[in-house]
């Protein structure tokens, strides 16, 4: 089955840099905060989506990576979303918990689930498709492979957008890729790990 599925493109965001299809496309020269780094990517990509500024950090990462990966357009509206991370929405959960003692923030509360990020991506691209969010200790290539294969076998999707979008204590690690039945790199554990680790020394 693996030979029938292919990784068509990928994006990585880590260490103040952004790669698309293994090519460095953006690098922050100066050391800036996490929030300013995200804003710098937004400006660099010349995006126009004011809702971006209202999102929490996790959704901003998912949104930015998706825009870069898809050039701002997901043509197939039934593209399934399969995402995972290790910290769930802990970053926003903690921020919200701090506001409870004073005035609980509605704007933070609505982001206290990791799959809200999938909602933001779906709203942006008007997707009405399957989506799932896993929480695992670390990037687990086999989890993605198994789930995606089954979903394709059951004909629940023809295209998939997958992502590892992790954020905690302002440390972020983002890896997005698309899968289809033709074109690109073989979708198997070895290739997926190779792509994920491609920026590691």
């Amino acid at each position: 089955m693996s030979q029938d599925l292919y990784i068509t493109n990928s994006v990585l965001i880590r260490d103040s840099r952004v790669w698309k299809n293994e090519m460095l496309i953006f690098k922050n020269e100066n050391e800036v905060t996490f929030s300013k780094f995200l804003k710098a990517i937004y400006r660099h990509q010349e995006l126009k989506y004011p809702k971006f500024f209202k999102m929490d950090g996790l959704s901003k990462l998912g949104y930015l990576a998706t825009e870069i990966l898809t050039n701002g357009e997901i043509q197939n509206k039934s593209t399934a979303l399969v995402f995972a991370n290790s910290a769930s929405s802990l970053e926003t959960d903690e921020a919200y918990a701090q506001t409870i003692q004073d005035f609980p923030s509605p704007a933070l509360f609505v982001y206290t689930l990791p799959n809200i990020m999938l909602g933001e991506i779906s709203i942006r691209h008007q997707l009405k498709s399957e989506n799932i969010f896993f929480v695992s200790r670390e990037f687990d290539a086999s989890l993605f492979i198994d789930y995606c294969r089954v979903t394709f076998q059951q004909k629940k999707a023809e295209n998939m957008l997958c992502g590892w979008v992790d954020l905690h204590n302002n440390d972020y690690d983002v890896f997005l890729w698309q899968i289809a039945r033709s074109g690109g790199t073989d979708f198997n554990e070895e290739e997926l790990k190779k792509l994920y680790l491609s920026t590691h020394e």
């Binding site: 004011p50 500024f53 209202k54 004073d102 005035f103 609980p104 923030s105 509605p106 704007a107 609505v110």
Partner: protein, 85 residues
């Protein structure tokens, strides 16, 4: 434009993360929701929090919101009449 108009616009920009928007770009009689400033339901909740936090006003009747949050002018008018701080 009164100090309260300016103060309120600054608070709204900051509280609702309206990046790239200047105080001068918000008209006093512009609709805050819908086709005006384009705020949404979560923003409405944030405005309720803002009224309580900054001006000590607790909204008891949610139906009041539609009138109060119509524009900066209606908000200023309501704050001036009901503020406790």
């Amino acid at each position: 434009m009164s100090d309260l108009h300016t103060e309120l616009k600054k608070s709204i920009i900051e509280q609702l993360n309206l990046e790239d928007m200047e105080v001068s770009e918000i008209e006093n009689d512009e609709h805050l929701f819908g086709d005006g400033l384009g705020l949404d339901s979560i923003d409405a909740l944030e405005l309720i929090v803002l009224l309580e936090k900054d001006y000590g006003i607790k909204l008891t009747d949610p139906n009041q919101g539609k009138e109060i949050f119509n524009s900066i002018n209606t908000m200023v008018d309501f704050i001036e009449k009901n503020r406790t701080r």
